[in-house]
Amino acid sequence: MAVLANKQRAIKISSRQILNAVFIGIGAVAVFLVFDAIIGGKCDSKCVIGTLNQAIRYAAPVALAAYCGLMCERAAVINIGIEGMMLTAAMVGYGVNVYAFTWLKAGGMDPALAGDASRWLSLLLAIAASGLMALLHGVVSIRFKADQIISGTVINILALGITGYFYRQYLAQDIPPGPGTFAPFDIPLLAQIPILGPIVFQGQKPIVYFMMIVTLLIHYVLFFTPWGLRTRAVGENPRAADTLGINVFRVRYINVLLGGALAGFAGAWFTLEAVDVFNPQMTNGLGFIGLAAMIFGNWSPFGALAGALIFGLGNTITTTISIFRPDIPSQIPQMLPYVLTILVLTGFVGRAIPPAADGQPYEKQ
């Protein structure tokens, strides 16, 4: 009886998921047709592949931001400070890249080697900087049980202040020439797969590939390991976890720090992969879009990736439209990804259910 009910429920859920997938498919085709019409029928198969490849690139920071939110919220810590963590990481990434390169070169290192060294060093320090912000969020909201929304807001404002200061002081003018961003590369073998290869495994930079790996990794950790089980238990019913000898605070700290590291990757994408400059508005709300993708994906990594890809696609199409049709005011296509996000969130997602203890500080009895 109970088993039967379970099966029925499973079927019901999957039929809704199928429906969603069909909607997304129809939506994607429709978007392409409209897009093709707008740019005057110039989108051939090569253009489609290029657009999708570009969409993945743009989706990477959003997906990584979503994974940051996901790691935190699965352990019941709301993190709206992702934006600030990303901005800090972007600034640190750019600054370290430029100055480390200068020093290494002055020290007599081969320029190519110095470029590589400073890029990887700056990625590492960007992650560390974001992690430091996450630690602050963790201490304030886990240890001192402050309101997590306020703590997250404070992180965002703090990041604006810090990055603004360093930007005006060191990164606005008279900057020494930097080594530039990471170089794109293909994944051997996988890049040869027809259609999928050129879309997914060709011409991306390290953080984008990292995003793909980390999607699988988070899925595995959350749903197939003791750590994931404990994280989910802490997010749903921390007291139950506590009575079984699980250290609720430790689980939350580690997840928030991991989230911070992921936000660090997302931030580093801006200055170590996308463009070789830093400006204080450059994260442009993508941290919050990441949270939207997380909700869209119902707090699961693949769902969040789907949300991020929708945003990435919107972003790519926008860019293409403004190139082909300079007569359309650029503000209109630029709205598209955000409008798409709102539509998707309110539209056919259904009710997303957050972890039951989300946002509640844990009080030991």
Binding site: A240, I246, A356
Partner: protein, 514 residues
């Protein structure tokens, strides 16, 4: 052979409270030891110490003769102690297997080197759960999601969870509070089976009947001290109640046969929805007459809350009608309903019954503060309110330092007395009481029961909603049983038996499940 568990001289102080005062407690191997006491007697503190959640200030604990110390539940679990908490410690969206292995996960051997990042071995865990379930006759489905299980099954999951951790000693904290009488009987069968296979059980309850039904020995706590230990053979209900309260208690309410008068409340085909817009009250019709108590029995969550909220104007009615005397109150506001002569003792006294941060005196006039003599125009007359409060505090034996004390700092029993005083001080024609004695001490229960019967004898119509079958049976003149939002049957109280009511509460009517 030394006892399975022995606690000697346990003392635990909390700021301002001596929760455990040199308590001695022992559990023999293979016995069910009942622990009885009112709320605040120190039972939970003692059990939390035995489970490692608190550390005692003084005293020692030995397991099978070996002294030991628990600094966290982890240590207690390692020593073979398992606890089934009153509020289940389960994670609803996870499966039964996931809930049971949480914190002691079985891993795929090949990935074990990854520590907490190695892969879970759900299959072998589920297999072990099936074996345990078979061995102890605890019916659980390892693959079901906990949120889909009825409470009885969730409780079995909790027991399997303890057994999975190789518990030899089980602490069951008020396990029957959420069960129907039949489910409770099933639990007792399970408990005996566990003991037969060598486990030892501490069974905490405040229901005297259950003590006699299942225990080998009974210990009673009062005010943080162990009062004494006896056996079911030697003890009587009166004796245990006296040990719990420290004075003689009248367990049986002394009441005359009802003399029903005119119909006061008439409910016809009432439909009510809950917060998620699911209909939780279906087509409910009944009448309550002046001078009678209609008891609504049923396991919690079968629509009782929504029914009471609809009758008191706190929740919109989606179909049917409610009439109070000659007034149609189907869509009346709470104040209109109050002014027509309804008193309401709500289920949750903290949320809906009192303003905890207001003093006693203000809480006593919450229904009438805007009327003469408590209000003069827009102004409140403090002196009148103070007089009224003094009078009620004396009349209803509310133990408070002063009428200016914040209600939130009183004990549960005295808080409930504040509500009862406020609602009965007016000339009410209908009294709606929902779970009037939940969590109260025996003395307060006795007092509130007496007041309810007195109200009936003054020709008030009383609607009593309670999940405690004993309360329903001893107070009601007629008993309606609610199951899944419907009234399955209405019985005359003198003819109703516990078994009959229990079956109805489980949804069985005329031998068939509805």
């Amino acid at each position: 052979m030394p006892p399975a568990l022995q606690a000697t001289g346990i003392t635990k102080r909390f700021p301002g409270v001596l929760a455990n005062d040199h308590v001695d407690f022992d559990l023999q191997s293979g016995e069910i030891h009942g622990l009885l006491g009112e709320n605040g007697a120190g039972k939970s503190t003692l059990m939390n110490i035995l489970y490692g959640l608190y550390q005692p200030d003084e005293g020692t604990i030995s397991i099978v003769g070996t002294p030991t110390r628990f600094s966290s539940p982890h240590d207690a679990i390692a020593q073979g102690i398992g606890m089934v908490h009153q509020h289940f410690m389960l994670v609803p969206p996870l499966t039964v297997t996931e809930n049971i292995i949480l914190g002691q996960e079985s891993l795929q051997p090949a990935t074990q080197f990854l520590g907490q990042l190695s892969a879970l071995d759900r299959r072998s865990a589920a297999q072990r759960i099936r074996e345990l379930s078979h061995q102890y006759r605890l019916d659980v489905d390892p693959d079901a999601h906990v949120k889909d299980l009825p409470v009885g099954a969730q409780q079995r999951v909790e027991i399997v969870k303890a057994l999975y951790r190789r518990a030899e000693i089980l602490i069951l904290d008020e396990p029957t509070a959420v069960l129907t009488p039949q489910e409770a009987d099933e639990l007792f069968v399970i408990m005996r089976e566990l003991v037969k296979q060598g486990k030892s059980i501490v069974f905490i309850t405040h229901k005297l009947r259950e003590m006699f039904a299942v225990t080998d020995r009974i210990s009673v706590m009062r005010g943080g001290k162990m009062v004494g230990t006896t056996t079911p053979k030697q003890a009587t209900s009166e004796m245990l109640a006296e040990m719990m309260v420290g004075r003689q208690v009248i367990l049986q309410i002394d009441k005359q046969a009802a003399q029903p008068g005119d119909v006061i409340l008439r409910v016809g085909n009432l439909q009510v929805q809950d917060d998620r817009h699911a209909t939780t009250v279906h087509d409910v019709s009944f009448e309550v007459r002046a001078g009678e108590i209609l008891g609504i029995a049923g396991v919690q969550g079968n629509g009782q809350r929504e029914l009471v909220e609809a009758l008191t104007g706190l929740r919109p009615v989606s179909g049917g009608h409610v009439a109070l005397l000659d007034h149609d109150t189907t869509h009346a506001t709470p104040r209109q309903i109050t002014e027509f002569g309804t008193g309401h003792v709500p289920e949750d006294r903290h949320k809906h019954g009192l303003v905890l941060t207001f003093p006693v005196r203000d809480n006593l006039v919450l229904c009438t503060y805007y009327e003469s003599p408590f209000a003069r125009g827009v102004e409140i007359d403090e002196a009148h309110i103070e007089n009224e409060a003094q009078k009620l505090v004396k009349e209803f034996d509310i133990r408070t330092p002063s009428t200016g004390t914040l209600v939130g700092s009183l004990s549960g029993g005295n808080q409930q007395k504040v509500i009862v005083a406020r609602e009965l001080d007016r000339p009410v024609k209908l009294l709606i009481v929902n779970q009037p004695t939940r969590g109260l001490d025996v003395g307060s229960i006795e007092f509130i029961h007496r007041r309810i019967v007195e109200a009936r004898d003054r020709h008030t119509a009383v609607l009593l909603v309670s999940a405690e079958l004993d309360e329903i049976m001893s107070l009601s003149d007629r008993i309606a049983v609610m199951y899944k939002g419907r009234i399955l049957d209405t019985l005359n109280a003198p003819d109703a038996t516990r078994e009959q009511l229990g079956l109805l509460m489980a949804g069985v009517k005329g031998g068939a499940h509805v």
